[in-house]
């Protein structure tokens, strides 16, 4: 019984939350890649995206029973779209107020960290003021049922939607970074901003776009999160920290590393939470982080956006 019996179910659970971590982790990794800065306010971008998507989906939801079929698909897409836009806008505003003025004067690195922390406090408390400080649920947008079983594990519609959308976004981002001009620019700035700027890359534009891309992903990720959990003004902190852990775990600055890190973290948490106790889930996550950093400080797949992606 016990763990062996539940192994596949825990794997399914772990992959779901891991996919979410991966989506958020990309924002950290991209910004770290181009700026070598830990963007502490990224968790609030995630939170604002979640609220944006939730309000949009809730607003469009017709009264009465849970919708089905095309209506469900439309609602999920609307939520994702608005969530992503809200996240992108938040990330843009963040870059403008908490990062750019500092960059213009070449402030020391700690100053960025502190201003990002300030922005984070500002944003989530303002969200609390405007959206209330209660947990806010997303009404069901589709019928959630068991679609199929893998061994003994139930795979629900909700699992499939979350993981499917996350994987799709991750593939798109990977293509974007490795195969487009913009991606080339991002990699160039990540490798060497000054040389890139000499080569005619508009570094400032790349930085803004990197923030926005990270924000779009985090915003959509925020909406996905509300499908399973509830939104609240302080929801960003823990997933943000976990996603950050995931980014480091995979090798910060490395796009594929963030994905691997997210999934590994999700699985480890899910197994650990079952075997030991759900209370120790976070302890396990951070222990993994500390151990990895001590023995393989560049993360599972190595650092550097430029080289690995």
């Amino acid at each position: 019984m016990g763990f062996v019996h539940q192994f596949w179910q825990l794997t399914v659970d772990g992959l779901e939350i891991g996919a979410l971590y991966a989506v958020i982790a990309l924002g950290y990794t991209l910004v770290y890649g181009v700026l070598q800065l830990i963007n502490f306010a990224h968790s609030e971008v995630f939170m604002l995206g979640a609220f944006g998507g939730l309000f949009a989906a809730r607003g469009l939801l017709p009264a009465g029973d849970t919708p089905g079929g095309l209506a469900s698909v439309g609602l999920v897409l609307a939520g994702l779209g608005v969530g992503a836009l809200a996240g992108g806008a938040a990330a843009f505003a963040l870059e403008r107020t908490a990062y750019r003025p500092l960059r213009r004067r070449g402030a020391p690195r700690l100053a960025y960290l502190i201003s990002a922390i300030g922005a984070s406090y500002f944003a989530f408390n303002l969200a609390g003021k405007e959206f209330g400080r209660q947990n806010v649920p997303l009404p069901p947008l589709f019928h959630n049922g068991v679609v199929f079983h893998i061994f003994s594990a139930q795979v629900t519609t909700q699992n499939l939607v979350t993981v499917g959308v996350a994987v799709l976004m991750l593939i798109l981002l990977d293509r974007l970074v490795s195969a487009t001009r913009l991606g080339q620019g991002i990699r160039a700035v990540a490798q060497d901003a000054d040389t890139a700027s000499l080569m005619g890359v508009n570094v400032e534009r790349i930085i803004v776009l990197t923030f926005i891309i990270g924000g779009l992903l985090a915003g959509a990720g925020g909406f996905l999160y509300t499908i399973t959990f509830n939104a609240s003004y302080n929801m960003g902190f823990v997933p943000g920290l976990k996603a950050f852990t995931a980014a480091v775990l995979g090798g910060i600055g490395n796009v594929r590393g963030a994905v691997v890190g997210g999934l590994v973290l999700g699985l480890v948490e899910s197994y650990g939470g079952y075997v030991i106790s759900a209370s120790y889930k976070d302890v396990i996550a951070f222990l993994v982080l500390v151990v990895i950093l001590m023995f393989r400080p560049s993360g599972l797949l190595g650092e550097r956006l430029g080289r690995a992606a």
Binding site: R96, R100, P108, L110, I114, N202, Y280, L287
Partner: protein, 475 residues
């Protein structure tokens, strides 16, 4: 090199120490030169640089944000009501008017730049006097006198806050200042050592507070050295393997460590009593010869106890700062490789800084615990961040500065308790922190050395320190 010519920079005129003024052109490590080529939309700082129109836009944007900040609340069913009622109500005009007035002020003041410079030179002698030895002594004595008188003038809730929020955080900030300000190491889990100090106290001083306790109980004063040692030891154990890592990774490992300690405190109910916290640590007392004194619930004696320790720590760290060790730390901070090459045992010294910082934190933990009650909620990541913010806000590397930082920031939080809806006060906190970083990143009362390092960094001459290296791609 880069296009530094495109941003006409006022920095040159701002530096007070002439030695570092002119050489700001070759800044290959930064892209601050590039922004001139980007799109519209001013950040706050560009208020001073871009055209008045953009400044006006920024001013009005800020005043709208302020209107929303101070406006009515919304809730999850009506998420945009709060914003709508703030922006569409007549009061918006007051805010816009203030924004407009502010804009006008900036316009006028930039014309008056020359006048101010003269005024600045007039005031300069005062600054110079304060930097002489007698001047400094006088300044410090005044500060001490203010600190001694302060609790007599305020309410007992404020006294409680002076102890819990300001005193404890000032002590913590002094400790973290050694790690961040002196040695240039970023520690994001500093509060963990504070927790260790508190739990050590719980273990040794009460049989009822925690399920796991020592067979004999002590007066909290006797626990001070034990907590100091245990916290320092924890610092060495954590720092030993991780201080070899690069600056960022140290930050992350310490963050992870801080989280682990808090989560363990929360979850190991059989040992720590979990989230219910530890209740019943006895108040400290002194029974030496004829002196008998028992601290009690009254915050004032605690305040003076804390003040005593703070002054002691300030003196002790002053000695260290000016010693060989202090100079070695400065060398590590400014250029670790060069320090290593000139024979500074960098790893050992970093470890020492880490241990000293940790022990002060443990020490503060004992004092905090001996006020009767603590729970793991006090040891959250937010608390670590708050200490860090206090250090940076007050002025990294400056002992007086970090204490002032604690007083101002925590004082602001307390002041806002009654002035704004309690839940909203962190909005203001966040806004003040951002504004501070934009306008005065060196902190309220910067240390002279630190100020110079930041000026150098801003001028693109040197990366200040392992942390201070502004976004740097050359590495």
């Amino acid at each position: 090199m880069t296009t530094s010519g495109t941003t006409p920079s006022p920095e040159g005129t701002e530096l007070t120490e002439p030695s570092v003024t002119p050489q700001r052109a070759p800044g290959p490590r930064r892209h601050r030169a590039v922004p001139a080529a980007t799109g519209p939309g001013p950040g706050l700082l560009e208020l001073l640089r871009s055209s008045p129109v953009h400044q006006l836009g920024a001013c009005l944007a800020v005043s709208v944000v302020l209107a929303v900040m101070t406006g009515p609340d919304g809730d999850s069913d009506h998420p945009f009501h709060g914003i709508a009622k703030s922006v569409l109500a007549p009061r918006i005009f007051i805010f816009l008017a203030i924004g407009l007035a502010f804009w006008a002020l900036v316009q006028v003041s930039s014309r008056l730049g020359a006048v101010k410079q003269v005024a600045g030179e007039r005031l300069a002698p005062v600054g110079r006097v304060l930097e002489t030895r007698p001047g400094r002594l006088g300044g410090n004595a005044t500060l001490l006198a203010v600190a001694i008188l302060a609790p007599q003038l305020v309410s007992s809730a404020a006294q409680q806050s002076l102890v819990n929020d300001i005193g404890i955080y000032a002590l913590l900030a002094l400790g973290l200042n050694v790690v961040v300000g002196y040695a240039g190491l970023l520690d994001l889990g500093y509060i963990a050592f504070f927790a260790i100090g508190a739990y050590v106290t719980g273990y040794f001083t009460t049989k009822t507070g925690m399920p796991w306790h020592s067979p004999v109980v002590f007066n909290p004063f006797f626990v001070l050295p034990i907590a100091l040692l245990v916290a320092a030891l924890a610092g060495v154990i954590l720092g030993g393997p991780t201080l070899r890592l690069r600056g960022d990774y140290l930050a992350i490992v310490t963050l992870g460590f801080g989280e682990i300690v808090q989560l363990l405190a929360n979850n190991a109910q059989g040992i720590t009593n979990g989230p219910r916290g530890v209740f019943g640590v006895p108040n400290p007392s002194v029974n030496v010869g004829p002196v008998h004194y028992q601290w009690s619930l009254d915050p004032k004696p605690y305040y003076y106890l804390l003040l005593g320790f703070i002054v002691l720590v300030i003196f002790a760290f002053g000695r260290i700062e000016r010693s060989r060790i202090g100079r070695a730390w400065a060398a590590i901070r400014e250029d670790e490789i060069a320090a290593e090459a000139s024979g500074v045992p960098t790893l050992r010294l970093k470890l020492l800084a880490f241990a000293i910082g940790a022990s002060v934190s443990g020490f503060a933990g004992v004092l905090y615990a001996s006020e009767q009650f603590f729970s793991p909620q006090s040891f959250s990541f937010q608390a670590s961040i708050l200490v860090l913010v206090v250090v940076i806000f007050g002025g990294m590397g400056s002992r007086i500065g970090v204490v002032v930082g604690a007083v101002v920031l925590q004082g602001l939080a307390f002041y806002l308790r009654d002035k704004v809806p309690p839940a909203d006060r962190y909005i203001y906190f966040g806004a003040v922190v951002i504004a501070m970083m934009i306008f005065r990143p060196q902190g309220l009362v910067p240390s002279r050395r630190r100020r110079r390092e930041i000026q150098l960094a801003e001028a693109g001459i040197h990366g200040a320190d392992p942390l201070g290296a502004a976004p740097d791609h050359a590495a």
